[in-house]
């Protein structure tokens, strides 16, 4: 991860300016690096991701494949179950993720199960993932808009009247299981939702079954299992097909779920981010600006808000797995056919075969996402690169 002492000053730091030009090789040191510090850091991290994924696969192999192979119990369609670890790694990296026995559900709806044609897991994931993406596209901005100012203000404020209750409330929020909050919200909304929108909030992002039956069945662009065409994102597809009622119901449901996710995520984010805002309060330039008569409000929302941005982004990168956990639980609580719902269903139903590719896919998302957020944070504040 770290550079050797000889080349460290060249990549970053004051010596970078006085190092000899690349045209004439110097006798006094190694030639300057080909890549800038940021590019080298990005490349190192990018090369590390496959290695980390192999370790994740090893954990999953030891946790699931070996026990199943030892006991020779079904399900046997696990990716690479009889082929050993290297074959499993090869299969996962090449997209050969095994097949499913979810035939009744996916064979065109109503068609007889056809055991001769098992469905690849990739195809089933393609049904579930767009719903999760749509939810995340709404939930992430809401979570950021809530978490950023609350953490900043609580850390900044000197009044114990705000900080102490905020700490208590957010800790309580972090301890409340999301499914309980989701169940309470659903039941509070139920009557109003049924009255005004003629729909129930607990049946996924699309309108409820009875709504479709009352209006002559599903439109042709909604497939079995609530997968929509052509993009897979229910809201976008409804707009494309100009089904405005469906779009409106999908939008309100997504917003409700995203709000629950945002509130639950604030609780997790807050405890990490509060101390960062606290340390910024004592920075020299803040004290200096205050002594020149700049109002506290300007200091907080102009200066401090900009100063904490890179650190807050790093906290965001650190808590991505927690965010995913929250979103999955909300999907389950709202019976929304997304990625988290699939994970819960396969775990609770005792179908272990999709777990290896599911967790593998999730690790890719987490690691790549963390890398992207890290790069943005370093772009905002290059000093962070020195400590890596």
């Amino acid at each position: 991860m770290t550079t050797s002492p000889e080349e460290a000053p060249l990549s970053s730091g004051p010596l970078a300016e006085i190092s000899p030009p690349a045209a004439e090789p110097s006798l006094h040191g190694p030639p300057p690096p080909l890549l800038s510090g940021l590019a080298r850091f990005a490349l190192q991290r990018l090369l590390l991701i496959p290695a980390q994924l192999v370790l994740v696969i090893l954990i999953l192999y030891l946790a699931i494949d070996v026990p199943v192979a030892l006991t020779r119990t079904p399900p046997v369609s696990l990716a690479g179950i009889d082929q050993g670890f290297y074959q499993l790694v090869f299969n996962l990296f090449t997209g050969n993720w095994g097949t499913s026995s979810f035939l009744r559900f996916f064979n065109g709806g109503g068609g007889a199960p056809n055991p001769a044609e098992p469905i690849p897991w990739t195809q089933i994931f393609a049904y579930y993932i767009p719903t999760s993406i749509q939810l995340a596209l709404f939930a992430l901005p809401i979570a950021a808009v809530l978490a950023y100012p609350i953490s900043l203000y609580a850390g900044w404020s000197r009044r114990p009247g705000f900080d102490a209750p905020a700490r208590l409330v957010t800790l309580t929020g972090a301890l409340l299981p999301v499914f309980v909050v989701g169940t309470l919200v659903l039941n509070a909304l139920f009557a109003g939702y049924l009255g005004y929108l003629q729909d129930v909030p607990s049946q996924g992002l699309l309108p409820a079954d009875f709504w479709f039956f009352d209006r002559g069945g599903y439109p042709p662009w909604i497939l079995y299992g609530f997968a929509t065409q052509p993009t897979g994102l229910p809201l976008v597809d409804a707009v494309i097909h100009q089904a405005w009622t469906i779009a409106f119901i999908s939008l309100t449901k997504t917003l409700i779920q995203a709000s629950v996710i945002g509130i639950a995520y604030v609780a997790i984010f807050f405890r990490h981010a509060r101390s960062i805002a606290r340390s910024v309060r004592e920075e020299v330039y803040i004290v200096g600006a205050r002594s020149r008569g700049i109002s506290e409000r300007t200091l907080l929302w102009r200066h401090a808000a900009r100063a904490v941005a890179p650190s807050f982004l790093l906290v965001f990168a650190l808590t991505i797995p927690e965010y995913l956990g929250v979103q999955f639980a909300v999907e389950v609580a709202f019976v929304d056919p997304g990625f988290g719902y699939l994970i819960f269903a396969s775990l609770t139903g005792g179908v272990l075969s999709p777990l290896v590719p599911l967790v593998f896919l999730m690790s890719i998302v987490v690691l790549v996402w963390a890398l992207l957020v890290d790069l943005i944070a370093i772009r905002l504040d290059p000093r962070g690169l020195a400590g890596r």
């Binding site: 991860m1 770290t2 590390l48 290695a51 980390q52 994924l53 370790l55 994740v56 954990i59 999953l60 030891l62 946790a63 699931i64 070996v66 026990p67 199943v68 030892l70 006991t71 119990t73 102490a164 700490r167 208590l168 800790l171 309580t172 972090a174 301890l175 409340l176 299981p177 999301v178 499914f179 309980v180 169940t183 039941n187 509070a188 997790i268 405890r271 101390s275 650190l318 797995p321 927690e322 995913l324 956990g325 999955f328 639980a329 389950v332 019976v335 819960f344 775990l347 609770t348 139903g349 005792g350 272990l352 777990l355 967790v359 999730m362 690790s363 987490v366 690691l367 963390a370 400590g387």
Partner: protein, 342 residues
């Protein structure tokens, strides 16, 4: 004028000794939050000990009163049943929460101890050894494990263990597995703090005067890295109870047609408490807060107008959140006290 002659030998002042607990208390009494948290923790301990004495013969089994099982007219909180009655279980909820206290305190204490032990030591060693082999291994393995959401990894590992040796898997194994899974988050925050400490001048001075790596670790880095542990500890409680409550809830509520029943059994018109196959609990009538919360949320909202049956989920929830808040308050109080010392 005569020369000044020192007639009395000059004694250097004695080195400042560490203040005793009583002196610290006198200088700055602990905050109200700390006292409230410590009082709540003491209450939990007393409850657990009394449960060990009162229910010593049947601590792992909730009694089932057949008259309370059907949900025709669920009994709410009253003088006879302080927390009401949970239909399905057919048990008095106050007794259930009380009986569950020693189990849950044991689970939380066990998991958090392993979490602290691994996360604190590995994180501090990695931070002090920045750029070294240990740091590389700890960071690499920790980052990889942390890329999987905690609750999924815990359940996956536990489900795999159950496949190999269903008889050997029990609550203690769950505690060990969960503790091992939780450490990367703790180690990451501790490592960041230890890394900053390792660059302080007094560490340089200790190194220059020949102090060994273990001595610097134990004398300087570990005592100064307690802060992140205290901040992280209450948060680490959340995934434990999430796993213990969410899966029973989902299993009892969300499977189409409720939990699976043995073939040729007549359907019942109420929820029978059932556990998913990978649950660490030994039986479906085991007293445990998370299980009570999961089943109670499901049962309470399976009635029309679920908000009227609030006691079924509120009291287990209060027990869980109360323990977390107590730990959080005590940790915050200790942290404030430590900062005052310096």
């Amino acid at each position: 004028m005569t020369d000044i002659v020192a007639t009395h030998p000059v004694h250097p002042p004695p080195p400042p000794s560490r203040p005793t607990v009583r002196e610290r208390w006198a200088r700055r009494p602990p905050s109200l939050g700390f006292l409230v948290g410590a009082g709540m923790l003491a209450l939990y301990l007393v409850t657990a000990l009394s449960a060990l004495v009162v229910f010593r013969s049947s601590l792992d089994q909730l009694p089932r009163n057949v008259a309370w099982v059907p949900p025709f007219n669920p009994l709410g909180p009253s003088a006879a049943h302080l927390f009401g009655v949970m239909p399905g279980f057919g048990t008095d909820l106050f007794r259930a929460v009380w009986e569950a206290t020693p189990w849950d305190l044991g689970i939380v204490a066990g998991i958090l101890s392993i979490d602290i032990f691994l996360g604190f030591f590995l994180g501090a060693i990695a931070g002090l050894d920045e750029g070294g082999l240990v740091d590389g291994i700890v960071t690499f393995v920790g980052d990889s494990i942390a890329s999987i959401p905690t609750f999924i990894l815990a359940v996956v590992v536990f489900a795999g263990l159950l496949t190999v040796a269903p008889q050997a898997v029990s609550l203690p194994v769950f505690v060990v597995v969960f503790g091992i899974i939780l450490w990367p988050t703790m180690a990451r925050t501790v490592r960041e703090r230890a890394r900053i400490i390792a660059h302080q001048p007094y560490i340089e001075a200790a190194r220059a005067s020949g102090a060994s790596f273990p001595r610097i670790l134990v004398r300087h880095v570990l005592p100064n890295s307690v802060g992140p542990v205290l901040a992280q500890l209450p948060l680490d409680m959340a995934p434990i109870f999430f796993v213990l409550s969410a899966f029973p809830w989902y299993y009892n509520c969300q499977l189409p047609g409720g939990p699976p029943t043995p073939p040729h059994t007549p359907p019942v018109n109420y929820l029978v408490p059932a556990l998913p196959y990978f649950s660490p609990l030994p039986s479906s009538s085991f007293p445990e807060w998370g299980y009570l919360l999961g089943f109670g949320t499901c049962e309470g909202f399976s009635f029309p107008g679920g908000f009227n049956y609030w006691w079924m989920y509120l009291f287990p929830l209060l027990a869980i959140v109360g323990l977390g808040v107590a730990i959080g308050l005590v940790c915050d109080g200790i942290e404030r006290w430590r900062q005052f010392d310096r």
